[in-house]
């Protein structure tokens, strides 16, 4: 059975009438890397909270349907059981940093302390994850003295260090410099190759195309399309519904309308596909 299994999930936040999620059915296999895209307000973050168990335990509200993650039925499990299986990195790292720790090193160790990991193992794991996320130099700084992008790496590291079975990342690269963002995708891909299951919300289509196994497109609380990056990210349905496509796809679509790119030819998503496609059109 799939490691993450949402069956007919509908959810309303407290004091609201319109569901934020409507009849969501989603299965994610162990080790799979699924990217979730969609316009703002589509329900992407709500989906993250639901998989991580923050819905309903923290946000309350009305949840219908079943959510099973790593063998737990999240509605009937406690939040402290859920967080051991699923790590969630918040969209805004400012909201995630504990405020209880004076250094980056201690901040990253916070979750391990709370789950009773022995001291020596803790030190080793924190060191490894700081290496992996490129923040070793920040170990002794206060989390609050860091730039937005540095805080975002700390937030990611403090989730990775927990070695959850399921990694849920809500726009983990939104404040990162461009090459830093690509590096985070590479790290996430590596975690997924090691067997971690990844659900990642992002707008950076170019890197989704390159690294994700599957793309789920959401709009108005529903999943409107899912499939391989190559299929979903070139869909004209999405282009016409206000989804951001990569500049390569956009340029090729414009080229189609100007008669430069044959209509039956597949649209590119990545740089390599665009180079291959456009150079094939040269005389």
């Amino acid at each position: 059975m799939a490691l993450v299994n949402l069956h007919d999930v509908t959810y309303k936040y407290p004091l609201t009438d319109t569901p934020a999620l409507k009849n969501i059915n989603l299965q994610v296999e162990t080790g799979e890397f699924v990217a979730v895209i969609g316009p703002n307000g589509a329900g992407k973050s709500t989906l993250c909270y639901t998989i991580a168990g923050f819905i309903p335990h923290f946000f309350k509200g009305e949840l219908e349907g079943t959510v099973q993650v790593a063998g737990l039925d999240t509605q009937h499990a406690t939040l402290s059981q859920c967080v051991v299986e699923t790590g969630l990195a918040f969209q805004n790292p400012f909201n995630q940093i504990s405020g209880a720790k004076f250094t980056v090193f201690e901040e990253i160790a916070f979750g391990l302390e709370n789950t009773g990991v022995p001291r020596q193992a803790m030190i080793e794991r924190v060191g490894q994850v700081m290496d992996l996320t490129g923040i070793s130099e920040l170990a002794e700084r206060s989390p609050y003295s860091l730039s937005g992008g540095q805080q975002q790496r700390v937030a990611l590291a403090s989730i990775l260090v927990m070695e959850p079975k399921v990694l849920v990342l809500d726009e983990p690269t939104s404040q990162l410099d461009p090459i830093g963002a690509r590096e985070v995708f590479q790290v996430v891909k590596e975690m997924s190759a090691r067997g971690m299951t990844v659900i990642l919300v992002e707008h950076k289509v170019e890197w989704i195309a390159q690294f994700a196994d599957r793309v789920v497109a959401m709009q108005d609380g529903m999943i409107i399309m899912e499939g391989s990056p190559a299929d979903v990210l070139t869909s004209s349905l999405l282009a016409d519904s206000g989804f951001g496509l990569s500049r390569y796809t956009q340029a090729a679509r414009d080229a189609v309308s100007r008669g430069l790119w044959p209509e039956q030819m597949r649209l590119p998503v990545t740089l390599q596909e665009a180079v291959d496609g456009f150079s094939g059109l040269l005389p």
């Binding site: 703002n40 805004n92 700084r141 937005g148 540095q150 404040q175 410099d177 951001g244 414009d254 740089l271």
Partner: protein, 269 residues
Amino acid sequence: MRIEIQDLHFTYPGGVEALRGISLSIASGEQVALIGQNGSGKTTLVRHLNGLLRPTHGQVRIGDWDTADQTVARLAARVGYVFQNPDEQLFCKTVQDEIVFGPKNLGYAADRIETLVEDALALTELADEKDTNPYDLSPTWRKMVAIASVVAMDTPLVIFDEPTTGQDAASVQRIAGVVASLRAHGKTVLTITHDIDFCAENFERVIALSQGKVLLDGPVHEVIDQPETLAITYVDPPQLTRLGKSLGLGVPVRSKAEFLAAFRDLVGR
């Protein structure tokens, strides 16, 4: 209003040397993007323009004022600053109150405030939400409230700190519209951004910082044409610039329109 920065150094308490000798000038009405890797000093630099930070060494002038002699409150009349995180700047009960707060504080006449607030609401597409509590809006729209509340202050210089972070395609378009409108009104705009495609499409001049120093400063086409130098500060050129280079277009392109024109030339050659 002209910005003059001379040999600016800044060291945070605790010893982190964030700016290490920055000199640059920005002419009145210029639209400049500020790019560079995390921790390169972008936010530290712009916080000197409205006096939130004071130089450890060097000088910052906004028009005829030396920021060292001015309070943050006085500088607010010349420098509008949209924070990276809107939650750090919003505190009123309604969107309308939030937007009124700035111009009212600057002592503008009632009818001018009314016009400015209406224009800002229209520009940010918030007119239907003016009685809503900002915290009942999604983060995307809170960002628009933050932008509107600064635009309504009608300052000659407007600073955006990563305006497109976490925004979808429609919202990025809306923000590009705000920048275009400020340009049309002759405002000086300085925008920090990691979104290099947005940067190339909307700004004429680009400054790249690296480790507290200016790495590149020039017209957008020159800056995006230097991938090796940009890589020093963890920036890739825009997607279409990279594509154009791989195809051998011969000129650096910054937008779809430029790419397709150059590609058509290549096909026709």
